[in-house]
């Protein structure tokens, strides 16, 4: 994170105020998503005994993996907090919205993890594929560049990415001290809801034959 911050704040001159804080917040949200989903992807395949030798609700394996990542990100955020103050960020009560933002992102990760981890049992190269998707996603989300650079023709497509909205909202509450927009929250919630539904359906469908496939 330090390297990325240095590289982008020195090499790329932008007119974004407090660029270091701006990029660190983006990286916090992005890393939670990238690390959370990639780790959860292999959690079923990595624990075959928990599936074949004992009966427990299998989504718990995914959930525990995701919760561990939520804890990690929370700690990451707590270490980031003094740094933000050092960088001159004016912390207000709006900063408390980071809680609900992380919870929403957690649900987004959980939804994707359900699909990915169960599909990974059958499709073993999903890890490599997801790795590429994550790399693409990094550039398709406004982590290291200003989203206003996106041409307006593709703006709508671009904004369909729920991570974009989470990153934007986080930056707004810390750097601009504004309330999260209801539209953003609603959009994220709808996409999380749809993905959760897909996740649960995929997981339930593949769960019954998981023990045979492992």
């Amino acid at each position: 994170m330090v390297i990325l911050t240095l590289v982008f704040s020195i090499l790329l001159r932008t007119n974004i105020p407090n660029f270091a804080a701006w990029i660190l917040l983006g990286l916090l949200i992005w890393r939670f998503f990238a690390v959370g989903t990639s780790q959860a992807l292999g959690c079923i395949l990595g624990n075959p005994s928990l599936v074949t030798k004992v009966y427990l609700p299998r989504y718990i394996i995914v959930l525990s993996n995701n919760l561990a990542n939520l804890m990690g990100t929370t700690l990451e955020f707590l270490t980031l907090l003094p740094l933000l103050v050092l960088l001159g960020v004016n912390l207000t009560a709006y900063a408390l919205f980071i809680g609900p933002i992380l919870v929403m992102e957690f649900l987004l990760i959980f939804a994707l993890s359900l699909s990915l981890s169960s599909l990974n049992v059958k499709y073993r190269d999903l890890y490599q594929i997801w790795d590429i998707v994550i790399q693409l996603g990094f550039w398709l989300s406004p982590i290291v560049y200003d989203p206003s650079l996106i041409p307006s023709r593709v703006r709508f497509l671009y904004s369909l990415n729920p991570v974009t909205r989470l990153v934007d909202t986080t930056r707004n509450i810390f750097l601009l001290n504004t309330l999260p927009s209801l539209f953003d929250i609603a959009a994220v919630m709808i996409s999380v809801g749809i993905l959760l539904l897909i996740g649960f359906l995929t997981f339930r469908r593949l769960e019954s034959r998981m023990a045979e496939e492992l």
Partner: protein, 251 residues
């Protein structure tokens, strides 16, 4: 009480295995070209039935690949039968593999807690019974040691001591008794006898005919997924031993 009625279980042995997205795409293309997706059917269990009352125990015997472990997994509900049904009244404790979820880097005590929860014991119950668990395993001295520093025998003893604390009505035991030293094996057998007196049922998969004869009233002999014999453990083990002898002579 556990009852299996005409249980069938099929595994598919595909002629080409598609394990990746890439292979699947290639597979779809070859189907479009006229090649058929084909697989061999392998019936791991064919019309297996048995029933077990409270306080009874059944031994499952047979050569490797006979379907014993598949049957246990079906009873443990990690797989579903393709035909027929298995009904159980009461809770089931599957002791199919010992030490699931053990982590070498945390202490014996912490591992006991995690494993207990995986096996379905309440957290408060494990805390309360921890001293007796450690004593049964003979590991009281090592309770704060890291698990990776224990011998593999100690590992298994710890796992087994926790597993038998499940308070289940039905215990599924897969060769788990064949671990530990003689003293520990005897202790485990005594414990299972006690369970039987308490009205709990035990399903035991074993290659030790003496153990099955000694411990179980009933036995089931599976060969290539079919029921070769079912009845009292005395008769069934005799039949199995005879079969194996003729096979050995013939081969």
């Amino acid at each position: 009480m556990i009852e299996a009625q005409n249980v069938w279980k099929q595994f598919k042995i595909p002629h080409q295995r598609h394990n990746t997205v890439l292979e699947n795409i290639a597979g779809v293309l070859s189907v479009l070209e006229g090649k058929r997706y084909s697989y061999e059917e392998f019936w791991a269990l064919k019309e297996v039935s048995f029933s077990l009352e409270d306080g009874e125990s059944i031994g499952i015997v047979g050569p490797n690949g006979g379907g014993k472990s598949t049957l246990l997994k079906l009873m443990a509900r990690t797989m579903k039968p393709d035909k027929g049904r298995i009904e159980a009244r009461g809770s089931i404790a599957p002791i199919l593999e010992l030490g699931i979820g053990f982590q070498g880097d945390i202490t014996v005590k912490e591992n006991a807690l995690v494993y207990g929860i995986i096996m379905g014991i309440q957290r408060s119950q494990i805390r309360k019974r921890l001293p007796s668990i450690l004593e049964f395993a003979g590991l009281t001295r090592f309770q704060d040691a890291k698990l990776k520093n224990l011998s593999s025998g100690m590992n298994v003893r710890l796992a087994f001591s926790i597993a038998i604390q499940c308070d289940a009505d039905i215990y599924l035991v897969d060769e788990a008794l064949a671990v530990g030293d003689m003293e520990f094996q005897q202790k485990c057998l005594d414990k299972f006898r006690e369970f039987k007196k308490q009205g709990k049922s035990i399903v035991l998969v074993s290659h030790s005919m003496n153990l099955v004869k000694d411990f179980c009233e009933k036995a089931l002999y599976l060969l290539n997924g079919e029921t070769k014999a079912i009845g009292t453990s005395e008769e069934v083990t005799q039949r199995y031993v005879e079969d194996m002898q003729t096979l050995y002579k013939a081969g």
